[in-house]
């Protein structure tokens, strides 16, 4: 089986089908991350995973092989989620209260989704990455372009909220 780095190199040489292997390999991982961050919204989770793959392909040249492709892709997905949340926020600000609103169908185990409901978008990301995916503080700081100290304090604030 080819490694991710080999596939990236081949995709850069012009083989889109090699990138297809990477898409298949990480489709479920990104979808799962999306589901957890969006609180079980399947459509949004699919959008996040697709946008992440598109962005990853667009910036494939800048992939640093000292880190794993999965790590890089996670960073992209997290930032995609942040962008989408901002856009959603703009739309909800614009929406008139009397207009019929779209309520997404939520799937998955609601225990975790209910647990992280009181958290802000940023806190949801930090909490999910730390406790579900068990990423190190430094890695999380890298994803969000934050200082490790800030990540630590934000996580402890999120835990306070959940208590």
């Amino acid at each position: 089986m080819e490694t991710d780095e080999e596939l990236v190199k081949r995709a850069l040489k012009g083989g889109n089908h090699h990138y297809g292997v990477l898409v298949q390999r990480y489709a479920d991982y990104l979808f799962g991350l999306g589901m957890r961050l969006t609180g079980g919204n399947r459509e949004l989770a699919e959008d996040i995973s697709q946008q992440s793959f598109l962005k990853s392909y667009a910036y494939l040249k800048s992939f640093d092989s000292r880190k794993t492709y999965k790590y890089w892709l996670t960073g992209i997905a997290v930032n995609c989620f942040k962008d989408m949340s901002k856009k959603e926020q703009q739309y909800t600000d614009l929406a008139v209260g009397s207009e019929p609103s779209y309520s997404p169908q939520l799937e998955g185990d609601t225990g975790f989704f209910n647990l992280i409901k009181p958290l802000t978008e940023d806190e949801k990301i930090l909490f999910t990455l730390k406790y579900i995916y068990e990423y190190q503080i430094n890695d999380i700081a890298g994803f969000l372009d934050l200082k490790p100290g800030t990540v630590k304090s934000k996580i402890s604030r999120a835990l306070e909220k959940l208590k």
């Binding site: 990138y19 898409v23 699919e46 995973s49 793959f53 225990g111 647990l115």
Partner: protein
Amino acid sequence: MNSFEEIINLEKSISYAQRDKELFSFYTLTLIAQEQASKKIQKKLWASLLLFITCLALFFSPISQITGSLIARLSAIDMIGLFYMALFSYGVSGLCIVLIKRGAIVFR
């Protein structure tokens, strides 16, 4: 806290899967190919536009006036004076180089 850990452990055990991974992959690759194609077309369009503007500028500008003034300016140049000036300036610069090299040897 126990329920907190239970919820986390339960969530960790859940694995989410795309509805149709093959279709998702195919659609994503199609979008990539579409984006690449549109970028190529954009590049071609810009190149054609540039070429078109250049052609327009060439065909509609008063070329005879431009070439006429250029020839007039070139013919007005005193070639012998220019030759002497070049010879003199090259000589001076050569002399400077020799002096600098000698100076470098003396101060070594």
